[in-house]
Symmetry: C2
């Protein structure tokens, strides 16, 4: 039976542990800096909690460093273990785990929120490891929680991370800007929700290129000017509006 | 029984007619400039087709001008009818229908695609008309196809239209840019689909402000630089990346 250990108690740690808890993988324990929150999390997944990183059991198959990018080098260096140590970050090199003989990366392409459950089955997981055998171990674990497992080298993973920022962080920021603008005008953001859901649902059967509509896409300069006028007192949104409209127009002419 | 007439055979006309056809509203006919496509559409909703706008029957309760913004003034002026003439555009003034005694606006907040069916029930419909009685007629029709009907004056509707462009057209453009970037790097856009779906699903229970994550949001300048480096040969995406990252950073400091 494969055994794993979770380091961290953030959103990545929690979602990953919950997905693993539903498989035959054994979660041997949890370590977290925050003892109160860490204990609570360990209880939830019915695993022992370790408050000292030096006491983490040394013989698990895989140690998941589900911590911030910055914490990966330091924490991984403190681990006194024999198993495979992996981080869960999109942009961090496998070599940030420099002190470990067996090292790897296990990055699910998803943005996890608190208080929500995500079905891991659909989430692509990108894996990388410093040996063929370690890749197989990660693959065995990833296959248990996801239908979409990809062995990728660092550069490709980083490119996926950029794209993920573009489709997730930036889209969400557009929602924030729209919400602010509507609230300032006493209009409800709820009116946008069916449209947002349809925009995302559409990509399942239609390439975004074919789904593109709107004034910039049809070069409707009249509407663009009217919109910019309506945004004249919202300089932040106006800048984004202009930048993205120009990008749509440029993109069409390519 | 309420009777309506559809002018146009585009995506708005088709989605609207299909939704109306499922109610007790009687569709008296269809007019479209394109006779071949128009006839086909009229057949689909089992309504008579009119190829001459002068011959459109004069006594329907409501005439839907589901045509391009530019075509609204001309077409509405050619209509020789007594009923209420409405357009379905977010940005166009009710007075674009200047020659009609009874005029209004009937704008569903949705971006309609070909070959897809949308459940109208969830789609907000914004209505406006030039008399209390005409508002009631539009309300009676809108209530039959949607749970979310809103009587709104022009300025408020136009602000919703800007917001709709931001959340729909701009998000979709981000998907286009990500798809192009991934394809150029031999990576599949499919890997982004679960993330895109989750980004949209999240707004149902979480304010976008609270859902915001990513390097710009946590002021992670190191990752921003790495990303910009990866985009150095993709000037269009790089510009958008920089513009939106700056906007996220600015927005946090407000």
């Amino acid at each position: 039976m494969l055994s794993v250990f979770i380091i961290g108690n953030g959103r990545m740690a929690q979602h990953l542990a919950k997905a693993l808890a539903e498989t035959d993988v054994q979660i041997e324990g949890v370590y977290a800096r925050d003892v109160v929150k860490g204990k609570l999390f360990a209880e939830q997944i019915m695993a022992p909690f370790y408050s000292k990183i030096e006491e983490v059991p040394p013989h698990c198959d895989v140690y998941f460093l589900a911590v911030s990018d910055q914490a990966i080098p330091t924490l991984s260096a403190l681990l006194n273990v024999q198993g495979l140590v992996v981080h869960c970050a999109g942009m961090v090199s496998i070599n940030a785990i420099h002190k470990q003989v067996h090292r790897g990366v296990f990055w699910p392409i998803q943005s996890f929120s608190k208080h929500t459950s995500v079905s891991f089955k659909e989430i692509p997981i990108c894996i990388e490891a410093n040996s063929e055998e370690n890749v197989r171990i990660l693959e065995a674990i990833a296959d248990r929680i996801s239908k979409s497992v990809h062995i990728l080298e660092e550069k490709q993973r980083q490119k996926l991370h950029v794209a993920a920022v573009v489709v997730n962080n930036f889209s969400n920021h557009l929602f924030v800007l729209a919400e602010n603008f509507l609230q300032e005008n006493e209009l409800s953001f709820n009116l946008m929700k069916p449209l947002i859901k349809e925009t995302a649902a559409k990509i399942e059967y239609l390439s975004p290129r074919l789904a593109q509509t709107g004034p910039a896409n049809r070069n409707d300069l009249n509407t663009l000017l009217l919109h910019q006028d309506l945004l004249s007192e919202h300089s932040n949104l106006l800048e984004v509006y202009t930048c993205l409209s120009e990008s749509i127009i440029k993109n069409k002419s390519v």
